[in-house]
């Protein structure tokens, strides 16, 4: 069953230029799907629409059958619990003046979710591979990879159905990146993952399905394995040929 359906969505920040042009895609519940594109492809804009931070100029975004409507406050409250995000830069996405307990517990507080907060935060930290004793520490005491783990813990603490990741490993060093990709892979087993990235290698390692965006249009979509083995669209072919390989 489809968790998210993007139906003929168009969007432009000004009338002169469409950032997204008639984009349609379906995300099945439990799927892990990669949105791949270069700068200006519209991938971040699409993610903003999925988060309900902007409204499509045309078309519709559906979530479990209902329309995602940023103006509908009661719908958005439930939606925010079900859909959480991890961003690119772990240095700017964590409040430097809050402890890990405050940061990871924030969604529980703002969404007014019931239950013992500390226990839920500890469970989330355990799921991302951090020790309990980090609760009282501040973001500056952690490395980039650990900070990204904290950001992931914050995203999963409210037990969302869908995790949206926007270039969530792009700012990390290679040896850290591979560990955080492993973390996302583990999480993807128990929730739906939409992973936005310019890095085809990371998406190939993580996602079963892939959607290739160019200039606001979907040029190719399908199973990652099939597309990598036989890319149909010329842009996908160029993209794939451009990725530098160690074994070349």
């Amino acid at each position: 069953m489809s968790l998210i359906s993007v139906e003929h969505v168009s969007f432009g920040y000004s009338r002169a230029r469409q950032v997204l042009d008639d984009v349609s895609l379906t995300v099945r519940a439990g799927a892990s799907i990669g949105l791949v594109g270069e700068s200006g492809s519209g991938k971040t804009t699409l993610l903003r629409l999925l988060l309900g931070l902007a409204r499509p100029g045309a078309g519709r975004i559906g979530f479990e059958g209902a329309t995602v409507d940023p103006g509908n406050r009661s719908f958005m409250r439930g939606y925010r619990q079900k859909v959480q995000a991890v961003f690119q830069d772990p240095y700017s996405s964590l409040d430097p003046r809050q402890t890990v307990l405050g940061i990871v517990g924030e969604p529980l507080r703002s969404l007014r979710l019931p239950g013992p907060r500390r226990e839920q935060v500890e469970a989330a930290l355990e799921a991302v591979g951090l020790e309990r004793n980090v609760l009282g520490r501040y973001p500056h005491e952690f490395s980039g990879g650990q900070r990204q783990r904290i950001a992931v813990a914050r995203a999963i603490v409210a037990k969302p159905k869908l995790l949206l990741a926007d270039e969530a490993v792009s700012a990390l060093d290679l040896s850290t990146r591979i560990r955080i990709v492993d973390l996302f892979r583990t999480l993807a087993a128990s929730m739906t993952l939409v992973f936005v990235s310019h890095d085809l290698g990371v998406v190939a390692a993580l996602c079963e399905e892939i959607v290739i965006l160019e200039h606001g249009r979907v040029v190719e979509a399908g199973l990652t394995r099939a597309i990598l083995a036989a890319p149909q669209h010329p842009y996908t072919q160029t993209l794939l040929a451009s990725v530098p390989r160690l074994s070349a």
């Binding site: 270069e38 290679l174 591979i178 290698g201 083995a229 530098p244």
Partner: protein, 269 residues
């Protein structure tokens, strides 16, 4: 033969912290060396020390000689003679490397004119413009005339980096230092810029010091690599050897990670 760059027991310190520890390497004319490392490994600082561009808070010990001239401790006046002729640099972010208030053409014309004067030629006006447009053509900029009249913000990321490369080449350096020159670019643009650098370095018989965190990018460009970790060279050797049979545990882990992403992409070239 005098090496273009000879770094000898170079140590860089900021206060009590050692950022680069006892680093030595040599680049001969025409040679291509890669410096690989993750953030904080000291790869960029090594490049800055080699050109005398270190920030004042970082204190160098040891030696770095450009075509036989000591850089460490040398006054700017002495270094200015070496910058450009001996060495020129291309940085990661072309938007900060270019002056936002000057048209692209003017920024590249300046080193072109200065280099000509150093060779005892005076060029200006039409002749200067002709050389400028020829240089823009060499770095494969489309519509060189229009690009020359554009400000950096009017250009795409790839075009800006081509302008920055043209600026470095205008000096006709013997050694080109490229510090993460494609990291800020899209992957298809990166492939174009790497091909361009490869062609220009070969055509102009330059040596290349290529700095990057990306093993696959480095593998395609250089013949020899040094792997840096927290300021220490943990491994060095021919690029094929280091990447196929790494001896150091840290290099092995980097190579394994890079190969994992490679493998996920499948056998497609």
């Amino acid at each position: 033969m005098t090496p273009l760059l000879a770094v000898d027991h170079l140590t860089l310190k900021a206060g009590q912290t050692t950022l680069v520890h006892d680093l030595s390497f040599v680049i001969q004319p025409g040679e291509r060396l890669g410096l690989i490392g993750e953030s904080g490994s000291g790869k960029s600082l090594t490049a800055l020390a080699s050109t005398g561009l270190l920030p004042p808070a970082i204190v160098p010990h040891g030696s770095a000689r450009l075509i036989g001239h000591e850089v460490i401790g040398a006054p700017d006046r002495a270094l200015n003679r070496l910058r450009g002729t001996a060495v020129a640099m291309v940085f990661q972010e072309p938007l900060t490397a270019l002056d936002p208030l000057q048209r692209a053409g003017r920024q590249v014309a300046e080193p072109l004119r200065r280099r000509a004067r150093r060779d005892g030629r005076q060029i200006h006006g039409r002749a200067l413009e002709r050389e400028l447009l020829a240089l823009f053509e060499q770095v494969a900029l489309p519509e060189p005339g229009r690009i020359a009249r554009s400000y950096p913000h009017e250009l795409s990321g790839g075009q800006r980096q081509r302008v920055a490369i043209a600026m470095a080449l205008a000096c006709r350096p013997q050694l080109l230092i490229a510090d993460e020159p494609t990291t800020a670019l899209d992957v298809t643009t990166q492939a174009e810029i790497l091909k361009l650098l490869d062609r220009l370095v070969a055509e102009r018989d330059m040596a290349l010091l290529f700095i990057s965190h990306d093993l696959a990018v480095v593998a395609g460009v250089v013949s020899r690599v040094i792997v840096l970790r927290q300021g220490v060279a943990v491994e060095a050797g021919p690029v094929g050897e280091v990447f196929s049979r790494p001896r150091d545990a840290y290099t092995s882990s980097l190579v394994a990670a890079a190969r994992a992403f490679d493998a996920a992409l499948g056998g497609q070239p």
